[in-house]
Amino acid sequence: MSLTEQDHDRLNRLVQTVLETWSQRHREPPDVLYHYTSADGLIGILSSKSIWLTDLRHMNDLSELQYSRELVQKRFAARLELPGLSDIQKKFIGRISSSFDPFRSRHAVFSASFCEEGNLLSQWRAYRGRGGGYALGFDFFHLLRLLSRPCVLRRVLYHENEQISVVDYVIGEFLDVLESEAKLRGAEEVTESFLPYLCQAFSDTIGELMFCFKHPDFREEREWRLVHFASVSPTSSRSKDLPRFRSYDGNIIPYVSVEFEKAITLSVDDTYGYGFPLAEVMIGPTINADLNQESVKLLLLSLNPDIIPNINRSGIPLRWL
C-alpha cells in the first residue's frame, strides 16, 4: 500500500515541526569556530579552499553513535513503562525499537568537527607525533551561505538531561500524531496504511538528531558540527550528490568536499562587504613556531593579499617527548 497524499502531508508537517524545534537549539553559533588539524590538513584545506565532511557512520569513534543509539533505546523503554499508552502506540514503539538502526540509514550525515575554543590541550595532544597541530578559526556567520553545498551548524549536546528531553519530545510528537490518526480512522487502518511510514519518518528524523549527542565526558570540546545531509544509496536515488572516498587505517571512508572558494573570492572584492572567512589560525605547541607562523601567514596572504592574517600561538607548554 502506498502513502496517500494526505498522509504524506501529515508526515511532512510532523517532521517539519520536530526539526524546526530542534533547529532552535543550534541558533546563534559563536563568532568563530575552530577546526583542529595537522599541517597536512591545514595545507589541504587552504590550498583546495574546501573542507572534507565525513559520513558520520564511518568516523573514528563509533562509540558516539552507539551511545546515541543506547540513549534512544532507553527512552523507548522508559516510555513503554508510562501508563496511558494505547495499543497502537505500544506497537509503534515495539516496531521502531526493534528495527531502528542509525548505521543502516538511507540518508547519510556528513560532518566536520569544530570547537568553540581554539586552544585546547586535549586537541593538541591528538597531534602529538605529527609535529603539532593547527586550529583554523572560521567565521561562519556569512560563510555558511557561501559554501558550495547546503550545510547547517549543529551544536553537540553533552548533558544527558538535554539529550533525554530532545528524544522524549520527538517520541512524544510521533506518538501524538499516531494516536490522533488512530482516533480519526481506526487503529486497524492506521496500522496497515500509516504506521510503516511513520516508523520510517521517525528513523530518518531521529537519525538527524542523534549525531549531536555525545557522552558528557567530552563536554570540554564544546563541539559544533558542520553538517551536510545526503542520500547515499544510488539504487534508491539517482542523486548526483554522491560522496567521494578516501582510505583511513584500511577502511574506506565516504566524504563530501565543501568548498569555501566563493567566500575567499568575495572577501578579495571590496564591493561585497565580506570579510576573510578565516578569522584566526592558532598554531599549537610545536618546535618551529616562528617558521610555521611565517609560512601560515604567506599561505593566507596567497588567498587574499588585502588582509592582516590573524595568527596566534598556543601558550600551552606542551612538549613532544
Binding site: 546563534e28 563568532d31 556567520f141 564591493t271 562587504g273 570579510g275 588582509i307
Partner: protein
C-alpha cells in the same frame, strides 16, 4: 540617558583599530558615525545612517539597534552579538556589526559602506578601509602602523583633501579625529 558619547574605547572600524578617538571618521566637519557607551551596562554602541549611493535611505542605526528603512531590498540578519544588513538581491553586506563583550583587542567591530552627503564613499570593509575609492587592485597606502598621540589630544591623525586612501592594519589612538576628510561635491573623481 544611559548612552553617552564614548571617549575611552577600543573599536575595530573597517579593519582599523580605533582607541579613544572621539570622532573616528569625519567628512566636511561632520562625523559619519558616532560611538556611545551605555552607562548601565558598559556596552559600546555605534550610531550611523546607511544610504545607497543615490542617498536613498537603507537603515538607521542607533546605539547598535538597526531600524531598516528599506525592507523591500534589504534584510537584517541576527546572530549571537551580531547583526548585518544585507542587500537581498546581490547578497552584498551593507553593514556588519559585532559586539565582542570582554574582547581584549576591541569591544565592537563595525564594517559598512558609507557615503558622505557630498557623495564621497567610505568603504569600511571588515578587513580594510578605503576612503574615496573601492575595488581598486592596488596595495595599501599605509599598512601595519600605529598612529598615537598624547591622551585627549585635539589633533586629527590623517587628513584627506579630495583624495583617496587605502589603510590596512592600522591602529589610531588618542587623536580627536581619526580620518578627517575634506571633499568638494564637484570633485567627481573620488
Amino acid at each position: 540617558m544611559p548612552w553617552v558619547a564614548a571617549e575611552q574605547y577600543k573599536a575595530l572600524i573597517g579593519g582599523i583599530l580605533y582607541r579613544n578617538v572621539p570622532q573616528p571618521i569625519v567628512c566636511n566637519g561632520k562625523s559619519l558615525l558616532s560611538l556611545t557607551r551605555n552607562t548601565e551596562t558598559g556596552q559600546l554602541g555605534v550610531s550611523m545612517d546607511l544610504f545607497q549611493q543615490d542617498r536613498a535611505p537603507i537603515a538607521s542605526i542607533t546605539n547598535n539597534l538597526i531600524i531598516l528603512e528599506n525592507t523591500a531590498d534589504y534584510i537584517a540578519l541576527e546572530g549571537r552579538n551580531r547583526t548585518a544588513v544585507v542587500h537581498k538581491q546581490s547578497g552584498r553586506i551593507w553593514c556588519d556589526l559585532r559586539l565582542t563583550p570582554g574582547g581584549k583587542q576591541y569591544e565592537l567591530s563595525v564594517a559598512c559602506l558609507l557615503f558622505a552627503e557630498s557623495g564621497y564613499p567610505v568603504l569600511l570593509h571588515p578587513d580594510r578601509s578605503k576612503f574615496g575609492t573601492a575595488n581598486d587592485d592596488k596595495p595599501p597606502n599605509i599598512s601595519l602602523l600605529t598612529l598615537t598621540t598624547a591622551a585627549s589630544s585635539r589633533a586629527g591623525a590623517i587628513g584627506l583633501q579630495d583624495d583617496a586612501l587605502y589603510l590596512l592594519g592600522i591602529a589610531i589612538e588618542n587623536f580627536h579625529i581619526g580620518v578627517d576628510i575634506t571633499h568638494s561635491k564637484n570633485n567627481e573623481s573620488n
